[in-house]
Symmetry: C2
Subunit: 369 residues, 2 copies
């Protein structure tokens, strides 16, 4: 049975969701709204969507849709829900979103639609990109990524199943998480670390004014820790502004941790400092860090001169042997690890076979991680 | 003119320094001391060193050497200096070290040798590895890395030049930095970030006890920010214990930064939050982050399915065209960027040519960073 889907916001996420829905439900008719008319035209030409809808016409067509998916930043999504709540909507409409925080939007949707026959399931596909725009749309964007679905007081367990079915083509791993729990967990794992990275950059940058070598002696550790500080400021402002309470809580909490280690450093008990680092290493290793679906535990380091020809040669031997790699990286600064080339494999067998092949064929030293 | 060099500690750093000295000064005679006798034997067999010295014989042979290089953790280096100060030493002996903090060792050396005709120049080659042991010794380990030389009250500018000449084979970039300044700058860029990473792991791990999804929803940002928390706890304890004052200072200072952003979040002024993130991005981009010698500014992203054959194919085209890459990485989780494959080039020209070639030959979309 055909259904009509409206995608609101046709950027990377919206475009990729359209592709995923089309893949699983080719009979569904997908319309899209975007303030950028060129995006709409392009998406139409590329067959990513079936129809375009101008915002001015929303009032007349809002009731056409069985599903409306908001793929906008949180605050725009909330604004859109408010607009939508003033229009006629189809009975039993299922609404969902794809934004980064869940409490504010779920609560607002509950208020706006509680007396209407409209269902709302919060959504957060945990994948994204520095690139944006519908041209970057990619059917594989969400593959194996976690996709959080947050129930609301205007959704039933069946509605969550229906949302999953609609979004099945994403091939994401769906998990159900209460909106409040979602915002707490993502504050700890993502939003707060972003703030931390930006603070570290700010501190180092200020320090460089008095201690100039700070401006050029940073290396791999600093680079990795501050990489996310180069993210899009608009997106992160939107996230922080809709998760204030949790962030204040994490910031306060972290201050206590800082006080703790500061006291241990002042006390100068090396056994305690050792335990601090050793426990952190152990705890980190026991955390599941999402990496697509596949944890990259099977690494090899090859001690090679970093020439493209050598890497090409090594990959040739692996291709020949039918061994897949799931990652490859040149360790440039040699600070992290012995050996210039890091290869990650799907299994211990692949890792083992690759080690044998590379050593035999090239004579380069190969180390396990 | 031949000189006699003693390397104290024949692990990765000591072994690599031996190789570098040998390369530039093949006529020098290199001896080594290490508590691991097997390392000594292996290094002798491999020709990394010319002679081994047992610690028990140090008392009888300490005066043989023109140069003594300590390649041990700071606290062991200080212990060794104390032992050495009790023995007869060659007039004009030049002593240097390769440890991670400089104030404690420079001050101790000054005290111990101020009344002797011995020179001490602090050293810190800013390269290293997760791998250890003399078998991992690599003449390229320090190539293009910064190598800090810290003058002391028992060294002259000529002594620094002499140390550089001795270590020239490392092909490192030598910079002169006062010990105190070194410890301040590295506390900000390296030691404090290590503590921050470990604290973040500790906090997240504790949070996971009450909010279990914290244990499995971490993704790329968290992984990058905490990667250094998996470093060797012994090494970092040694570093923290010899840079306590600076670390307490950085921890206190950071608490102020936390208070600042916390207040802005409470105030809920989105313009200020935006500026906070936007400034951080800009400041980070203006910092020089050391990456071997070559900043990897010339990146391309290729939107490919992550199959080894495809990468092999692409590298084949680049090899054919004589284009070198300086890094390659598969972006697995698609969270960071559009496109599965990241390639880094030495120049804008290489980047441009590679983009043309890859697009023409494969039809895959190629994006500039």
């Amino acid at each position: 049975m055909t259904k009509k889907v409206l995608l609101v916001g046709l950027g990377l996420i919206g475009g990729s969701l359209a592709l995923a829905i089309k893949e699983e439900h080719p009979e569904y008719e997908i319309s899209a709204i975007d303030r950028n008319e060129k995006s709409l035209e392009t998406a139409l030409e590329l067959g990513i969507i079936d129809k375009t809808l101008l915002n001015d016409n929303l009032i007349n067509h809002a009731s056409d849709f069985d599903y409306i998916i908001l793929a906008l930043p949180v605050q725009y999504s909330i604004d859109f829900l408010e607009e939508l709540s003033r229009y006629d909507l189809k009975e039993g409409l299922l609404l969902t979103d794809a934004s980064s925080t869940k409490v504010e939007i779920v609560e607002r949707a509950e208020e706006l639609f509680k007396d209407k026959n409209v269902r709302f399931v919060g959504g957060h596909p945990m994948a994204g990109s520095h690139k944006s725009g519908v041209l970057a749309a990619n059917i594989n964007l969400f593959e194996n990524a976690y996709y959080v679905l947050a129930p609301s007081s205007i959704s039933s367990p069946e509605d969550l199943l229906e949302a999953k079915e609609l979004l099945k083509g994403t091939r994401a791993q769906f998990i159900e998480l209460d909106a409040n729990e979602h915002d707490k967990v993502t504050s700890q794992l993502s939003h707060f670390p972003h703030i931390l990275a930006a603070l570290l950059v700010e501190q180092a940058s200020d320090y460089a004014k008095i201690h100039p070598a700070t401006g050029f002696l940073a290396a791999g550790g600093f680079r990795d820790m501050t990489r996310i500080a180069s993210s899009d400021a608009n997106m992160w402002t939107d996230i922080i502004m809709t998760n204030q309470k949790q962030l204040v809580d994490r910031l306060d909490d972290f201050t206590d941790y800082i006080q703790g280690i500061k006291q241990e450093i002042i006390d100068g008990d090396s056994q305690k400092i050792f335990s601090f680092f050793d426990d952190a290493r152990e705890k980190r290793d026991s955390m599941q860090i999402h990496n697509g679906a596949i944890p990259s535990f099977y690494d090899l380091y090859v001690n090679v001169p970093d020439k493209v020809g050598v890497i090409h040669e090594i990959l040739g031997y692996l291709t020949e042997a039918g061994i897949s790699i799931i990652n490859i990286r040149i360790i440039e600064n040699r600070e992290e690890i012995m050996g210039g080339l890091k290869l990650s494999f799907r299994s211990g067998k692949d890792q083992h076979d690759a080690q044998e092949i590379i050593e035999k064929k090239t004579g380069y030293k190969v180390y396990e991680a």
